[in-house]
């Protein structure tokens, strides 16, 4: 069997359910693949792992991948399982925020480590400075949880529809007390979890074939996971080595993630890609990327996989 | 007869240790009069240090009665009756010689001006004039030991207790210091308790030599010296001296079971 190592962008959770299902259900095996899944973590940059030869393929968000590409790390999108963006900004109603116009002079929680680009690009579009200057927002580097909102250290924090949002709810704050801004709704959605490989490895036909099989099997996994969220969550728990994840969280995450992969077979929609690029290029004075990327994606793999 | 300054009656002291009780002092009877120079001699572990510490109120006898000027050693200590000199000079390395001598004066809250005067006086007394600004480690061992004696003299304690003060010094320096201690004793007329391992030193210095013996620590002999108060070093070659030394050695040998 061909060996494939997949580097995830974060810890084992239902966000990556499709891959775990594919692994557990033997889809990879059927495709003659021997797949290893490496979870990520706070100090793991997937692109670096890829560059260092620690993985063949990674899950990353497109803004971060394109920024990396511009910084000299030639990664190429070979598939896009997540069609929709799950990112939003969740605000406490009591902070007085009703729309983006209210953002100035508020403190907003943002994820960094490559996750900050959608936010920066949105703010760029709104023309709101993020560097602490007059009339801008105070940006807070959000940790790994929703505490800043609960402790009222921030008016709004970044959340994912499939994860942090529900933690806010779980913490006892009712949806009516919240105001949420989905990046999708604000017209600033950027593509999230996609599969990326190094450009040079694509010159190898055998590798491309391997990836085609990998993408195909992964998408089967996603399909199954979307249809069986409970079972998928169980599988994820199976693979979670910390033993700290809980069924409630993972089932809900799986259910929400299923909404994001609806309507795609895994092929990158060039329209979505162009929208993302345009959004990243247009970030006012400080765009995430400065020039139109070339060769940042290939449809060859999905074409081969899904025919 | 006048009342003794230090009066020990059937003093007993047992230490409770991990390995069981250690009988450090057993039935110790001793009277020391004002102006006496008493040496304690005996093999290691016979309780010399322990007895000196009892006198100073640093250790409490478990039996018998010990009074200093009629009061308890504890009270006498609080009233600052003692100057204590240890085997090692034990000067504070972070203080100058003058600073070290000033230490007890500061604690006893002597007026500042008086402190200076006293430091000068005792430095002169121990022949260390001009060394006040030096740090202890800049002085030789003998000089350090003299400084520590000066420290014990600075506040006019009535009783001077010295626990092997010259044990670490070489014989020549020791001779010098012995002469000096005698001179000091004559000049101040203090009551002195002095622990030593050296027979000549004990005989040379004392008006009374207490020979002790271990397991349990007890007094085996008390020798009153017939030597005159005036003692040149050469006295050590006189028959009287050798005679007393002989008696001390016999006393020691008898109590020694090595």
């Amino acid at each position: 069997a061909d060996e494939v190592t997949l580097q995830l962008k974060w810890v084992t959770q239902a966000q990556f359910g499709g891959y775990y299902v594919a692994l557990e259900k033997g889809y990879y095996e059927e495709a003659d693949l021997d797949v290893t899944i490496k979870p990520g973590g706070p100090d793991v940059a997937p692109v670096q792992v890829l560059l260092g030869g620690g993985a063949d393929v990674m899950v990353d968000w497109m803004p971060s991948a394109l920024a990396a590409r511009e910084n000299g790390a030639p990664v190429v999108n070979i598939a896009q399982p997540f069609k929709k963006s799950g990112m939003m900004l969740t605000c406490l109603k009591e902070s007085g925020i009703t729309g983006p116009d209210d953002f100035p002079n508020k403190t907003l929680g943002v994820w960094f480590y490559g996750n900050e680009y959608p936010f920066l690009s949105w703010m760029g579009k709104l023309g709101i400075p993020t560097d602490g200057s007059e009339g801008g927002v105070t940006v807070l580097k959000q940790g790994f949880n929703v505490d800043p909102l609960l402790q009222k250290q921030a008016a709004c924090i970044s959340t994912m529809t499939y994860n942090e949002y529900w933690q806010v709810i779980d913490a006892g704050i009712s949806p009516e007390d919240l105001v949420t801004f989905k990046y999708e709704d604000q017209g600033v959605a950027t593509l999230e979890d996609g599969l990326y490989v190094l450009e040079e490895s694509l010159t190898d036909e055998a590798f491309k074939d391997k990836m085609a099989r990998f993408v195909k099997a992964s998408m089967e996994g996603w399909k199954y996971a979307a249809e069986h969220p409970e079972e998928a969550a169980e599988i994820v728990l199976e693979y979670d080595e910390t033993g700290a994840q809980t069924m409630t969280h993972q089932v809900r995450m799986m259910t929400e993630v299923a909404k994001l992969i609806e309507g795609t077979e895994g092929a990158l929609d060039v329209g979505d890609y162009e929208r993302t690029v345009a959004s990243l290029l247009s970030g006012g004075s400080d765009p995430v990327i400065t020039k139109e990327p070339v060769g940042a994606y290939t449809l060859d793999i999905t074409d081969a996989a899904l025919k | 007869m006048k009342k003794p300054v230090i009066d020990a009656q059937a003093v007993d002291l047992t230490f409770q240790t991990g390995d069981g009780p250690v009988h450090a002092l057993k039935d110790v009877n001793l009277q020391i009069n004002k102006g006496d120079f008493v040496s304690f001699i005996g093999p290691s572990g016979c309780g010399k240090t322990t007895f000196l510490r009892c006198i100073a109120g640093l250790e409490t006898p478990t039996g018998g009665k010990l009074t200093v000027n009629g009061i308890s050693p504890e009270e006498a200590r609080k009233s600052r009756a003692y100057g204590y000199v240890f085997q090692a000079a034990g000067l504070y390395p972070w203080r100058t010689i003058a600073g070290n001598i000033k230490l007890p004066l500061e604690i006893m809250e002597f007026p500042k001006a008086d402190q200076e005067k006293r430091v000068e006086k005792v430095l002169e007394l121990v022949d260390l004039k001009g060394f006040g600004k030096k740090y202890p480690w800049q002085l030789s061992g003998g000089m350090q030991q003299r400084a520590s004696i000066a420290r014990a003299l600075a506040f006019d304690a009535e009783i001077l207790l010295m626990d092997e003060p010259f044990g670490a010094l070489d014989e020549i320096v020791r001779d010098k210091l012995n002469e000096e201690v005698l001179r000091l004793w004559a000049a101040t007329n203090k009551t002195i308790g002095f622990v030593t391992h050296s027979i000549p030193e004990a005989v040379y210095l004392s008006t009374k030599i207490v020979v002790m013996s271990p397991r349990p620590g007890r007094i085996t002999d008390v020798i009153d010296s017939p030597l005159p108060k005036e003692r040149p070093l050469e006295i050590r070659d006189t028959p009287e001296f050798i005679e007393i030394a002989h008696r001390v050695r016999d006393g020691l040998r008898a109590g020694h079971d090595l």
């Binding site: 100090d43 792992v49 993985a55 700290a244 | -």
Partner: protein, 289 residues
């Protein structure tokens, strides 16, 4: 034991303070919730509520104890949900890093003591090495060991643990290996002993008390390194990873329990190393204490 009563007293006082603090700190939330619901809270309601929140600012001691109980006694040791299992992973990293640390520490100390150039060159860098926050290097270590082809994260984690734990050993061994005084060195010289004899028969044995004394500090450092490594480089498994997941999913109890499990494990480790130290001293002719 004349310690038990004072320790219990102090613990009791601490627990009382803790409960009071828990009521105080968690009350904000209770009042907020009541306000949102438009109700009043009585004092007894306040106390019960602050003792039983799922996301308290400060969990009550019994909440942590319950969580610890659930994740140790009530779980099979082989279960990933068992704190003992997770602890064993951290323990493995710690011991591996500790082992590396000891070897590196002794090796460097030997070079430093035996060679003047080694001492002049390496000693300052050993000190500087400890001023670099290892967490900053963590991602680089992960990538480099990935590049070097070590599949698991065990190696980078152990490297981080070793990085923190070699230093106490190094410092103590430098002291220990140079502890023989001139007299002892000269004694061997009068026997016409070689440098090798001097090292094996004098320097190394004299350094042992220093070595053992450094082990407790060193194992504690390795443990901190292991937890930090799990927390930052690879939230895959171990107590550090549990703390992270606990934090991410807003499960303070998981986090606190992991923290306490870590402290208990560290205490056990230090106790064991201390016991080993005593044993080794005894074997080397030391006085029983």
């Amino acid at each position: 034991m004349n310690k038990i009563v004072p320790v219990l007293t102090v613990l009791a006082v601490l627990i009382v303070i803790w409960y009071a603090a828990a009521v105080k700190m968690n009350s904000t939330w209770t009042f907020d919730q009541a306000e949102r619901a438009g109700t009043e809270v009585s004092f007894s309601e306040l106390v019960t509520d602050t003792m039983s929140q799922t996301r308290p600012l400060l969990p009550a001691p019994h909440q942590i104890a319950t969580e610890l109980w659930k994740t140790t006694v009530e779980k099979k040791i082989t279960s990933k949900r068992s704190m003992i299992y997770q602890g064993s992973i951290t323990l493995k990293t710690t011991l591996l890093g500790f082992g590396f640390g000891i070897v590196i520490g002794i090796a460097l100390a030997t070079v430093i003591v035996l060679s003047r150039v080694g001492r002049l060159t390496l000693m300052p860098w050993a000190i500087i090495s400890q001023t670099i926050p290892i967490v900053a290097l963590a991602p680089i270590i992960v990538v480099l060991s990935n590049a070097a082809g070590t599949g698991t994260l065990m190696v980078p984690k152990a490297i981080i643990a070793a990085y923190l734990s070699f230093y106490p050993v190094l410092v103590s061994m430098v002291k220990g290996l140079s502890s023989p005084d001139q007299m002892q060195l000269d004694l061997l010289k009068t026997y016409g002993a070689s440098q090798r004899d001097v090292f094996w028969k004098l320097r190394l044995p004299s350094s042992m008390p220093y070595f053992f004394a450094s082990l407790k500090v060193s194992v504690a450092a390795a443990f901190v390194g292991a937890v930090v490594a799990e927390l930052s480089t690879s939230a895959i498994a171990g107590l550090g990873a549990r703390m992270l997941i606990g934090s991410q999913f807003g499960e303070p109890m998981i986090m606190w329990a992991a923290l306490f499990a870590a402290a208990i494990l560290a205490a056990i480790l230090i106790f064991l190393v201390g016991g080993f130290e005593k044993l080794a001293r005894y074997m080397m002719g030391g006085r029983a204490v």
